[in-house]
């Protein structure tokens, strides 16, 4: 008979889990594996609330295994290292992102693209090598193989380097020296986009006149919207050879008009997080350019309310759970 979450591993652990597709989170006793030779144990300080967490707890994509402990934007402190661990020592500030395992042998893994490995293991809701389910960062501690742990640069505040798509894309874009236009359905976001985030322009996607003027002006578009939405107007904004890169995961297919692709040699692509090497590179880039996410820090017991606000996009721009100070049994 399968062991219960509390019994399957030797180390006691505590977090919050959703038990069913209502998605409501509540205290949850479980366990973590022994710290193996290649492993690092991390006391979790902060964990970002990603919109994927919300999709998973509600089983929007149909593959959630309950009980599920979400959380894949984890920052903490190393408390234990296995005997083969070389890159980290006790006390180091580290992060764990979306993945905690891969096959290490396939073409993708060989190219530092573990995120595209067909046998990738996600930080939560995935089957680990030992056959147990992975539990994420809405918890007190996590045990992760060294090569999936990121060094957290000292000058990045640990509660702020944790995610958020659109607003972080603006910050990266400016740091890369690009001209950034934010495309949004809400005119109210314009002031903040331009004055606080540094965007160069703002386009209200429901304003046909403004969209028309902007046609054929963009080299590429990063689309972070996960709701079903129209691609045709976005394709129109692209120049010849323009690229529309979609990062959001709608639960239904989108409509793709083919004429704009053919007539303008345009393309639509996707991308899914990044490999370990590139994630570290990204963190180091943020440290170098002083880029952080804009967050709202919350206590663990307010996570359900945060999920409800997240469902209504009522957050500027990421909730981060103050795990160390508010997760108590």
């Amino acid at each position: 008979m399968a062991k219960s979450p509390e019994e399957e591993h030797p180390q006691k652990a505590f977090g919050w889990a959703a038990r069913d597709s209502s998605g409501v989170l509540s205290p949850f006793h479980f366990s973590r594996r022994e710290n193996g030779e290649e492993d690092v144990t991390i006391k979790i300080l902060y964990c970002g609330v990603c919109h994927s967490d919300l999709h998973i707890v509600k089983n929007d994509w149909g593959f959630t295994r309950f009980p599920v402990v979400p959380g894949h934007e984890i920052v903490g402190v190393v408390t234990k290292t296995g005997k083969n661990v070389k890159k980290f020592k006790v006390g180091d500030r580290v992060g764990v992102g979306v993945l905690v395992g891969s096959c290490k042998k396939c073409d993708s893994c060989q190219q530092d693209l573990e995120n595209y490995c067909p046998q990738v293991i996600f930080t939560y809701n995935s089957l680990y090598h030992d056959g147990t389910i992975t539990y994420g960062g809405y918890s007190d501690a996590v045990v992760v193989e060294e090569c999936y742990v990121l060094r957290f640069p000292d000058n990045l505040p640990p509660d702020a380097g944790l995610g958020g798509l659109g607003h972080v894309a603006v910050k990266f874009g400016k740091a890369f020296g690009l001209r950034v236009t934010v495309i949004s359905t809400s005119p109210k976001k314009e002031d903040e986009a331009i004055n606080r985030l540094g965007a160069d322009a703002f386009l209200v996607s429901s304003d046909p006149a403004k969209m028309k003027v902007a046609m054929g002006t963009m080299d590429y578009i990063i689309d972070t919207v996960s709701a079903v939405h129209a691609l045709a107007p976005l394709l129109g904004l692209l120049k010849l050879n323009g690229k529309l890169v979609t990062l959001g995961l709608p639960d239904k297919p989108l409509e793709l008009p083919i004429f704009p692709l053919v007539l303008g040699r345009k393309l639509v692509g996707g991308s899914d997080v990044g490999g370990m090497k590139e994630t570290q590179e990204m963190l180091d880039f943020c440290a170098e350019h002083g880029i952080t996410a804009d967050i709202e820090l919350i206590r663990m017991e307010n996570v359900n309310m945060a999920m409800e606000r997240l469902a209504k996009s009522d957050v500027r721009y990421r909730f981060v759970i103050d795990v160390a100070n508010s997760l108590s049994q």
């Binding site: 979609t246 409509e255 793709l256 083919i258 692709l261 040699r265 393309l267 899914d272």
Partner: protein, 360 residues
């Protein structure tokens, strides 16, 4: 009052045109401009029938003007050149494809991408610089600006290379642009028709391993034995498609009818590219998960610029690549269109203009 097609230009011309959206073609007297300083005039010997011709005849895309003389896979022999023409002389074998004019001042034109110029002038059915409508290759002569004339190397048979001027460049250009031309790559070709079969030949010449993806099992033998494809997948065979998941670096999709993209995306490796060169009129369903989970892309491509078209013809000459064709007399053209509509051709009709287009 606008001049009639017969009167608007000084030189008599004869061809076949459709008069309305029935798309039925019949003999048509019209006229061509005099050979300008930069123009090349040639006697048309062959013209390929492109599926776009059928779409335009029926006004499927909503911008056809009648009378319409189609044909943009045109080959022949030069009979006259303008005083400023440098690259051609009388007797040269030449061709003209889909574009006969552009603005020459935009970024696209500066990058040899006249086909993407917002003011590009198509070989038929478009307004030329002089305000008259262009008439295509289902006719006895063509007059074109030297810039848009392609030299046909001597070793290429004229009838077999006519379709390359549209079908050929339409698959060659995206294979180069999307990087699906490297030896050892695995590339799929969807649809074994006028475009698809040429894509297989080009790919083999580039050292690429080709998988043909088709709805018809009957095409398998020919694909493997005659065209040299490395493998063949029947798209409605779930088991075959499942076994082939994640194997292809790219796919050139030539199918213009509505069809599902999801199974094709599944065939791609990570970072794989699905390139559409057939354009269905209605949007297709795009499942986003496969794009994201595999960092895959869906792109499009439209014919190619003049420089690249010449490069493609030279490549075809070097590798002795021609289209598989069925040569027909001019008066068979309406029957050919009916057969084309049912995809009943291996793999391109070519009208023997030189021998069978006769004005009475």
């Amino acid at each position: 009052m606008a001049k009639s097609p017969e009167e608007e230009h000084p030189r008599k011309a004869f061809g076949w045109a459709a008069r309305d959206t029935s798309g039925v073609l019949s003999p048509f007297k019209f006229s061509r401009r005099a050979t300008g300083d930069k123009d090349v005039t040639f006697r048309v010997l062959y013209c390929g029938i492109c599926h776009s011709d059928l779409h335009m005849l029926k006004n499927d895309w909503g911008y056809s003007t009648y009378p319409l003389v189609p044909g943009h896979e045109i080959v022949g022999v030069v009979t006259e050149v303008g005083s400023k023409v440098e690259n051609f002389k009388i007797g040269d074998k030449v061709g003209v494809g889909c574009v006969v004019g552009a603005c020459h001042s935009c970024n696209n034109c500066a990058n040899n991408l006249e086909n993407y110029c917002p003011k590009s002038i198509q070989t038929y059915g478009f307004k030329y610089h002089d305000g008259t409508i262009t008439y295509g290759g289902y006719s006895d002569i063509m007059v074109a600006d030297e810039h848009y004339v392609i030299r046909i190397p001597d070793n290429l048979p004229l009838d077999g290379c006519a379709p390359l001027l549209c079908a050929g460049i339409t698959v060659y250009s995206p294979m180069k642009f999307y990087g699906l031309d490297k030896p050892g790559m695995q590339v799929g070709v969807v649809g074994l028709g006028g475009l698809g079969h040429v894509a297989v030949k080009f790919a083999k010449a580039m050292g690429v391993k080709v998988t043909v993806i088709s709805t018809s099992p009957k095409k398998k033998k020919e694909a493997l034995e005659k065209l040299g494809a490395d493998s063949f997948l029947v798209s409605s065979d779930q088991d075959e498609m499942q076994a082939a998941q994640g194997k292809l670096d790219g796919i050139i999709d030539t199918v213009a009818a509505m069809h599902p993209l999801a199974p094709l995306l599944g065939l791609l490796k990570s970072n794989g590219k699905l390139v559409l060169v057939g354009a269905p009129e209605k949007p297709l369903e795009l499942p986003v998960f496969p794009l994201i989970m595999g960092r895959k892309t869906v792109g499009g491509s439209l014919t190619g610029g003049i420089k690249e078209t010449q490069e493609m013809i030279d490549f075809a000459a070097k590798h002795n690549i021609t289209s598989e064709i069925e040569v027909i007399p001019m008066d068979y053209v309406n029957t050919a269109m009916e057969r084309l509509r049912k995809a009943d051709v291996r793999y391109r009709f070519v009208i023997d203009i030189g021998n069978t287009l006769k004005s009475n």
